[in-house]
Subunit: 115 residues, 2 copies
DNA sequence: TCCCGAAGTCTAGAATGTAGATATGATACA
DNA sequence: TGTATCATATCTACATTCTAGACTTCGGGA
């Protein structure tokens, strides 16, 4: 994307993933975040897509991850829990506000703005 | 994006551009759409970015374009007016509904869902 | 004719999105 | 002990989307 030096832009999936991480209040890790997304979105997200996006969001400083030991049960591999940073919250809020502003007073079926 | 055979996915900018075209009710062309976007969005969109996106949206059947002769004034090159198709309206509406659904009952500052 | 202005096009490359295979560890249980 | 199994994360290779800015086009003005 050219000289995207400001790491403030959020892609479509990045927005959704950030939303999910926020939604789970710091208690989400890869698999549960994936489940949340696939339950709420109109499409299916693959593990590869999710983890790549999580990495990018962390690079941008939008989320933070902490490793924790696995539970004493099958498949007890350590989990990477994700939490939204203050910066991430702000970015997500900005997207949400923009979206609200765009649709304010606009009839979606017609596309005309009421006075 | 792998086998994205369903041309139903809309990227971040595609959503915004589609919104702008809908907003202008069929009377928008490149330059005016660009102005609309740059006035309403939190960022600046370049001509190249816009026209590429318009082409993609047309390929996907989300918008339709008609060429019209230029005005009798300086720079009177012909314009390509853009209008949203029924399919485009549906797609945009779907995105909007998803967005509304995601945030329903959720406090953006905290990320928790109220019962 | 030469200049100017509006509109659209092109190019090369970076960022984002993707599926599916594979790796990693840990428990279960024979 | 060794092997099956399960949950989780990572890797690979590529497709799609996004981008800036230079460039072309074509008509009017002087």
């Amino acid at each position: 994307m050219g000289a995207m030096t400001e790491h403030t832009y959020l892609g479509e999936l990045e927005q959704r993933v950030l939303w999910a991480v926020l939604r789970m209040g710091g208690d989400g890790y890869g698999t549960t975040i994936l489940e949340e997304l696939n339950a709420r979105l109109d499409r299916v997200v693959s593990p590869g897509a999710l983890y790549a996006t999580l990495d990018r969001l962390e690079q941008k400083g939008m989320i933070r991850s902490r490793l924790e030991d696995g539970d004493p049960k099958r498949g007890g591999r350590r989990k990477r829990y994700m939490a939204v940073t203050a910066e991430g919250r702000t970015a997500l809020e900005r997207v949400r506000e923009e979206w609200k502003r765009l649709w304010a007073g606009m009839d979606p079926a017609v596309g005309a703005h009421e006075p």
